[in-house]
Amino acid sequence: MKVTVLSGKGGTGKTTVAVNMALSVPDIQLLDADVEEPNCQYFLKPNFNKSEEIYREIPEIDQNKCTACRKCVDFCEYNALAMMLDEVLVFPEICHSCGGCEKICPEDAITEIDRELGVLKHSSTEYDIDFWQGELNIGEESSVPVIEALKEKSDLQKDIIIDAQPGTTCPTIEAVVDSDFGILVTEPTPFGLSDLKIASQLMDELKIPYGVIINRAEEESDYIIENYCDKNNIDILLKIPFKREFAYLYSDGIPFVIDYPEWQAEFKKVFTEIRGVLDEKDYSN
């Protein structure tokens, strides 16, 4: 079973949920797909023992062969190629590595060279979690190829939890697109609600079943989220109360189930419930 933790808004508690859940369910694989800001590592304190650079291909122009015909410049949809005097310039950060320029060059003046985009790191942690993290290099713009490479590390024998990037665009979609279930993490504020709506629209469009976890829950304000979920038949899987101690543990990089082990049962229950929902769905299909 593959479960992705996501949210429209940043900072609602995706990593908190992903890490604490991974620590509550046996034999789990955790993939940190928030490759712009991978943060699970600060809670799991992994000893990375394996790393793989992720490359993508960008064009290199052989100026001796180039006749400045402009075909590649006109073809590139991303404006990653430009004509300067009689030379074609490449802007590697905005190149999407589609390979089109190399294919259409009539003079065979373009070859593709590797450019490092990011890195994957692996560790088994002291908590018996098989942990992979993707990391985008500073200054690079495209997270998607790093997330794709990370997902290739999926061990399908295990249950997998994926920590996604916030938002509803390409990197988040890439993380969740082939998951069995999505956990949408939100908080009881107007911001939390507004962004939850966007995230649930995305899940509806992708046709992936999902449920909600309310983080920093407070009795007098949870209705903000509950009303919306009620109306739209969305399950609320769990509420994690607002506590200053939880905030402190978070800040110090300590998963709160370590200090409050009774919460492991809560996360385990959520995981079992998700499995139940999916089994039922399989059965009805």
Binding site: G8, K9, E36, E77, Y78, G100, L136, D195
Partner: protein, 288 residues
């Protein structure tokens, strides 16, 4: 006109809350919400939309079934796995609109179609004009929409001769963030004292350094973990980023947020409001 983008690396550190409270203190400025993935500034500033424009920038490959001979070349040449190997259907979430399949199709059965990325709004708030957007769910190319919002706000500000443009940015370090800082005079980091907040700050600060933009910083909820706050203070000093203030943790902030109110307006005398007022004073000396 001075242009400032507020970013954080990590999400949820308080960018939008700070931007809206600063807008109140600035009284007269131009605002832009460049967090088009999850825009929230409008929830606090209640803009009145005056003009809506559809923004189209991403392209998708579209197939004319009547011309397709199922040769499979499109599937072979697509680097994004957007063409199904079974029936050669195009997955709109995977297609990046590069046009390689269009170029290589021997039957001219494929073409690129310009799609709607989202809507851009020209609005007014009680503190001045605001440009914001709504990205179509699941859409590609938020970077281009961010650039468009930023450019429209600059245009507006120049036209009516404002002194300040305040831009609410998005979390992360990738394409939307880079689009939101292009051409600005100053970046304001909003960080929080947590292991992850600090490390995300360092990553985004490297991006800013790469673009050689001067930066200021605010530590929000600094008293949640004073040890890490101290580490951040030292880091900022070493990297010549001016700390313009620390904001203490206060339940007043979230209470006001829940009522869509501004804490500096409702609780002027509170400690947290005084801290924000002092931050605004320091920012002002930086943009003179």
């Amino acid at each position: 006109m001075k242009k400032i983008t507020v970013i954080s690396g990590k999400g949820g550190t308080g960018k939008t809350t700070l931007v809206s409270n600063l807008a109140y203190l600035a009284e007269d400025l131009v605002l832009a919400d460049c967090d088009v993935d999850a825009p929230n500034l409008h929830l606090l500033l209640n803009p009145e939309v005056e003009e809506t424009n559809i923004f189209k920038s991403n392209k998708l490959a579209i197939k004319d079934e009547s011309k397709c001979i199922d040769c499979g070349i499109c599937n072979e040449v697509c680097r994004f796995n957007a063409v199904s190997p079974v029936n050669y259907e195009i997955d709109p979430y995977k297609c990046e609109g590069c046009g390689v399949c269009v170029e290589m199709c021997p039957e001219n059965a494929l073409s690129l179609k310009l799609m709607e990325t989202g809507e851009i709004y020209n609005s007014t708030t009680r503190f001045g004009p605001m440009v914001h957007a709504n990205l179509k769910v699941g859409s590609d190319n938020s970077g281009k929409l961010v650039s468009e919002v930023r450019e429209k706000a600059v245009e507006k500000g120049n036209k009516i001769d404002k002194d300040l443009l305040l831009i609410d940015g998005s979390p992360g370090i990738g394409c939307p963030v880079i689009s939101s800082i292009t051409g600005v005079d100053l970046v304001l980091f909003v960080t929080e004292p947590s292991r992850s907040g600090f490390s995300d700050l360092k990553r985004v600060a490297q991006v800013i350094e790469h673009f050689e933009i001067p930066a200021l910083a605010v530590i929000n909820k600094y008293d949640i973990n004073k040890d890490i706050s101290q580490e951040i203070v030292e880091y900022l000093k070493e990297n010549e980023i001016e700390l313009v203030g620390k904001i203490s943790y206060s339940s007043l902030v979230v209470e006001n947020l829940r009522n869509a109110e501004l804490v500096v307006e409702q609780e002027k005398k509170s400690k947290v409001s005084q801290e924000i007022i002092n931050i605004w004073k320091k920012i002002k000396t930086n943009i003179k």
